[in-house]
Amino acid sequence: MNARRTARGLSLHAVVWLIGAFVVVPLVYAVISGFKSTGELTSNPFGLPEHWRTGNYTGILGDGMFWRQIANSAGMAIGTTCCTVAASAMAAFVLARYAFRGRELFYTLFTIGLMFPFAVAVLPLFLLLRTFDLLDNPLGVILPQAAFGLPMTIIILRGFFRTIPAEVEEAAVVDGCGKLRFFWKILLPMARPALGTVSVLAIVASWNNFFLPLLVFNDPTWQTIPVGVQQFQGQYSTDYARVLAYIVLAMVPALAFYAVAERQLIGGLTAGATKG
């Protein structure tokens, strides 16, 4: 019995390891390859590098363009997140705690947005941004991203705002608190976990967006990391080791953020998915 259990445990681990290898091998391959020269990469694709060259990595880190792209991505992620969360929190507040005619209609309107694939809107969006003169302008990325983030954020926040008991609001009103102050001083602080979750979702979505920055920015000074990665690959298409080093460095901020905000991210995605 005990032997059987051990055997079962072992085979379980073997299967998990196999899946783990499927996930990890490409990543490890990229990290190690970044330390090779492209010549060595083709002659010795799997082994550890003979000499650990750091040139690929340091070369990229010493290039202002890389940092510029990181800063652009970060700035746009922060801008998008502030817009999405602020607009959603306000809307979710009235949609959750006010009774007014047309409330469900407005809520449904926002939730319909979940069904719109971003790719559908991107061409007219581009025309629209051109008309507003928002091309080569970070607002041309931030505002549409914020708009497409609204449905999910409003759904999650409205759900959370509804769980705050009516007594809290009554007590606040009795103490002479107006609507605005209740929202600002009581509801938002109480909703901090939910706000954290939706912020993390918005940051990740913005950081990874490729389609919109690709179209909006012609000027390389505004390039974000995903666009930069694609450009870099185009530029150094035969220098495999250097391209791999670039994507490894591009992964680092995302993975670091994931390590820090894992709980909020997964909580938000699973809650958002099931409520959508």
Binding site: V94, V120, Y240, T274
Partner: protein, 325 residues
């Protein structure tokens, strides 16, 4: 579910029994304050989400290059051309191909992994984090990574099958029309299975342990427990995951654009890639808009149908009873 809170303003005297349910909104002042809160979100949403759809529908009726006046109204000509265009019909077929593979391969794989990691297993928290990690990476980074891996001759994939003695499998992967779609699908699985696994894990954890125990006492084996207890109780989660995976396949762009740009010879083009090609590379904006509209109609009709006929079961509680979600 908590109901709406009625505001009780200064006129509420604490001694009195609670005032009857009364709307917060009395008169113009309250309407104004609702509007004040709703306006930022509403404006953003109308301008950047709804308006583009309307514009796409309108533009789809014109023959238009993207600049100058839009005055060549052609009615449904763009649509007629679309459904005679072998590339576009191929897009539909390839979309379907990815959907079918996702449902029959990726999602079962994700479910299998979730069930595995739901067991008592040393280090399972680490595995969960690891399997989900690809989902965090941007599509572009993933695409470039796998472009390198699938380079014919020099890539890791060729070296790997060579090292395993399977030289016959060495291939041109992304460069051959017959292998490009399966290769892309492998990348999709790598990128997205962790997300579905997380959904299933959340679903599995909402299944009360007593139900599984009861089935064990009744003599159900591991497979029977899975087939007749876990799977039905996981129904709602599976239906959501199928929904997301289908919508995702319909709008696939980034991954394919960076890896193959739809090639070789249109053999990996998706609807979004065709739209991009016509709209931004070949300046046939009217035609590209028609592709957008068809994509939109497919998503919309599918979503409405799915929500009405598939997800409704979950809302009415026919199968769901496990857990508190």
């Amino acid at each position: 579910m908590s109901t709406l809170t009625e505001e009780r303003t200064e006129d509420v005297v604490p001694v009195r029994p609670p005032a009857p349910a009364r709307s917060l909104l009395r008169g113009w002042g309250s309407w104004a304050s609702v509007a004040w809160f709703l306006v930022p979100a509403l404006v953003l949403f109308l301008v950047f989400v709804l308006a583009p759809i309307v514009v796409a529908v309108w533009t789809g009726f014109f023959k238009w290059g993207g600049v100058g006046p839009m005055d060549d109204f052609v009615g449904f000509e763009n649509y007629a051309r679309l459904f005679g265009d072998p590339v576009f019909l191929g897009d539909l077929g390839r979309g379907l191909y990815l959907i079918v593979l996702s449902i029959t391969v990726q999602l079962p794989f994700a479910l299998f992994t979730a069930v595995l990691l739901n067991q008592r297993l040393r280090g399972r928290a680490v595995y969960r984090m690891l399997f989900f990690a690809p989902y965090i990476l941007s599509e572009v980074v993933t695409a470039v990574l796998f472009t390198m891996i699938f380079l014919p001759g020099d890539g890791m994939a060729d070296h790997l099958v060579g090292a395993l003695g399977l030289d016959g499998l060495k291939g041109t992967w992304l460069a051959d029309p017959s292998t490009v779609m399966p290769t892309l699908f492998v990348v999709m699985v790598w990128k997205y299975f962790g997300f579905h696994m997380m959904l299933y894990l959340a679903g599995l954890q909402s299944i009360p342990a007593e139900i599984i125990e009861a089935a064990t006492i009744d003599g159900a084996g591991a497979w029977q427990r899975f087939r007749y207890v876990t799977l039905p109780l996981l129904g709602p989660t599976i239906r959501i995951s199928v929904f997301l995976s289908i919508i995702g396949s319909i709008q696939l762009f980034d991954l394919v654009w960076v890896m193959t740009a739809g090639g070789p010879n249109h053999s990996s083009e998706t609807m979004a890639i065709s739209m991009f090609q016509f709209g931004f590379k070949r300046y046939q904006v009217g035609y590209a808009s028609a592709i957008s509209v068809v994509m939109f109609m497919i998503s919309l009709v599918f979503s409405l149908f799915y929500q009405r006929h598939v997800l409704r079961r979950d809302l009415s509680g026919a199968v769901t009873s496990g857990g508190d979600r």
